[in-house]
Symmetry: C2
Subunit: 499 residues, 2 copies
Amino acid sequence: MQSDRIKFQSYKDKVITAQEAALFFKDKMTVGTSGFTKAGDSKAVLPAFAERAKFENIAITLITGASLGQTTDTDLANNNALYKRMPFQSDAALRKKINDGEILYIDQHLSETAEMLENKHLPKIDIAVIEATYIDENGNIIPTTSVGNSPTFAHLADKIIIEINTSIPLGFKGIHDVYISENYPNRQILNVTASNDRIGQDYIAIDSKKVVGIVFTEILDSPAQPTEIDVKTAAIAGHLLGFLENEITAGRLTNSLMPLQAGIGKVANAVMSGFAKSSFENLVMYSEVLQDSTFELIDSGKMNFASASSITVSENCYKKILANFDFYKDKMLLRPQTISNSAEVIRRLGVIAINTAIEFDIYGNVNSTHIAGTKMMNGIGGSGDFARNAYLSIFVTQSSSKEGNAVSHVLPMVSHVDHTEHDVDVLITEQGVADLRGLAPRERAKVIIENCVHPEYKEELSDYFNRSKLRGGHTPHLLEEAFKFHLRFLETGSMKKML
Amino acid sequence: MQSDRIKFQSYKDKVITAQEAALFFKDKMTVGTSGFTKAGDSKAVLPAFAERAKFENIAITLITGASLGQTTDTDLANNNALYKRMPFQSDAALRKKINDGEILYIDQHLSETAEMLENKHLPKIDIAVIEATYIDENGNIIPTTSVGNSPTFAHLADKIIIEINTSIPLGFKGIHDVYISENYPNRQILNVTASNDRIGQDYIAIDSKKVVGIVFTEILDSPAQPTEIDVKTAAIAGHLLGFLENEITAGRLTNSLMPLQAGIGKVANAVMSGFAKSSFENLVMYSEVLQDSTFELIDSGKMNFASASSITVSENCYKKILANFDFYKDKMLLRPQTISNSAEVIRRLGVIAINTAIEFDIYGNVNSTHIAGTKMMNGIGGSGDFARNAYLSIFVTQSSSKEGNAVSHVLPMVSHVDHTEHDVDVLITEQGVADLRGLAPRERAKVIIENCVHPEYKEELSDYFNRSKLRGGHTPHLLEEAFKFHLRFLETGSMKKML
């Protein structure tokens, strides 16, 4: 079994336990690990390190592709094993420690981290831990369900630990396209002109002298939670499909649309599932994550090809992919997140970007990360990479949430800005669509309040806008009231005006 | 004279007056005109239209490259000739009408407008007015001191009016590199891998059937105001040079740095002038505007090449360029703003972006456009195009301004966000440098307050930060106090705490 997975002779004596591997970690080290939205993460070495940190005063800076699966971030956080974490997370325990100021967190565009590492704008990587399907005859890594930042971690790290996951079939070789840009000033063109273009190798090149240990696991990726499509998400999906159909009618799109990107989560997934019942065809995806909906679209014959940086699917979908791997293999590609999220490629392909907002304001600024301006939820992820450079930048969210619609997701002013008014084309809630293209701020406010706001908040937002206009300005506001919805929520648990 | 300038036979009878040309404008039309930061703008037809609008109820949507020179925007605004204006302006009268809600304004990334026009996300261009050095044998336009969005206006307009400016020497042919991307889905790679790479033609291709009139002028571009380097701007320039020298010492840069971009204005110009006395050499520029400092750097032998979308210089500098045109000609290139400001090219070249902030906050968010969150100053211009995709994204501003330091430019929270915390690497005031790379928000706040804030505001900002931390959060804030500096300014004319 192990010889199947380690085809490079001089690695054969490198096999160690996860506990032994975790001993390479020293206090204050910077560690880069594979893992992107729970896919292809370290399932043995990082947990072993978390366990070790229970008994030792040791903490690292941990850089990943994106979020980790299992309970890894929870355990690392609870055992005080993290000094700093970047560029993304979605773990409740870690989130709490970040918001309590106990763990430092850098929330980055997912395309940026490897750039900053390669440019030495971030600390050097001491150790890279990379999950592998197997190690080929030349000592290189065949990745698993994600590529993420692993090529850069392997490139820059002093030491490399490889985690071979035997639950991933050997046939995974070939679905990856690994490319690292030359350092400046020798940076070259990213020669991707279609979602299925290949520009690199199907392995991560490794300097074999850096490999200090190989660990075996057979733990599967944490499954994505299957998402129920409820009335609201179905309405949002319906509005989006209607909007795109109108674009076809207007002659701006064909029924193959443009390459699609969809964020993570139930709204985005519902939207994408909606495409399966649409009249669109020959769709392609240029995104960061392949979700259940991607494979539904491939199954239904609607989608021809999907490029991303990871496969993050439910348990059933994962089984389906493995059972029909030959069918899917030539219809997908996993890339480093510098390429899946590259401004250059996203603009060139003309991606339709569909991302989820936490809240947006009446002028079209979007908050994707912070609750009430202060508490981090997950992070910006790739939404900025796509929204800025997209052919169409669409943000979706429900107009209200919580018991009794206590929270409005449309506000006078967002409490944190991740996507500025300059980067947002279309806003969609279950109430309707605000098409902001070609609109000045005062025009946007009218359309947003009219089409996207929950009826219970419409009057107050209109009133805010009208009174703001009396004071003038290109973007009218009453700064002393701009956060009144948030402040009420902090005080009373509801954004609603007390009667 | 005129036959020198119109080398295409069938245009010879198209010469009309500016007043006749202005008659092609109809109410509610969308007009696209040349002009980028006062360079290469329409100096006859738009003013004639402004004059006509004095006596007629007529208003257009005016799309330019960027700001216009002369008193054109003033006259258009005062004569109610504008319904909507985009994507940039810097005119006092127009600004007032925008802030009074009388003229709609869309403040866009300068790279975006032509994209949105070509994708039909903005209304069709009815008339294009383009300043030309001359018309060549095939009826194509040799532009003047800017390229801006003119190629797209000419491409999309129903009718084209050409304004031949006889004050521009015929030798200007050759300094332009005009390229329009194919429409989707045939978009190709932008094959610019160095500041001096050419990918297009040295003329704007014209469908001769669209040309309805040719107007002659000899009015020079409005000169840039020469900027005095004062104590503060000199200190900012000094800090920036010191920062870059440290980057060389750290092995991240060579003394040729990387291609430079600098925003408009006295701070940016002072900073660039500082390079002339530095030890840097073989510099290149990949920017949007060539300013006086660019030519100083070329004169001093420090700069080898400069690419931009316009030449906007003082009267003396302009004379110098014309008198020594052969010397400068092979050291510069003017491109469409889709290319000068292209995310793809900026990232590929690794530009060091130096832009001016109106204000920034203790977490590194930058406001480039709005006074007290509501009143538009000029617009975001190209700062977002460069900051997001730069190798290093640097923002400069003075720490305080107005009599008695009544205004702090470092705030608890910015009143409008143009550049999010995700896109800002380094902040510099005359007080010092905050290097934010690799820092979490709470670390950034410390460094910014310590290094960038004016002494008179340090204590209150520290106090705000410390009290915010008690309430927790990844990005600690007291939402009810976040705009207290701005509100005080609105009430009292000063951000200072009353004693």
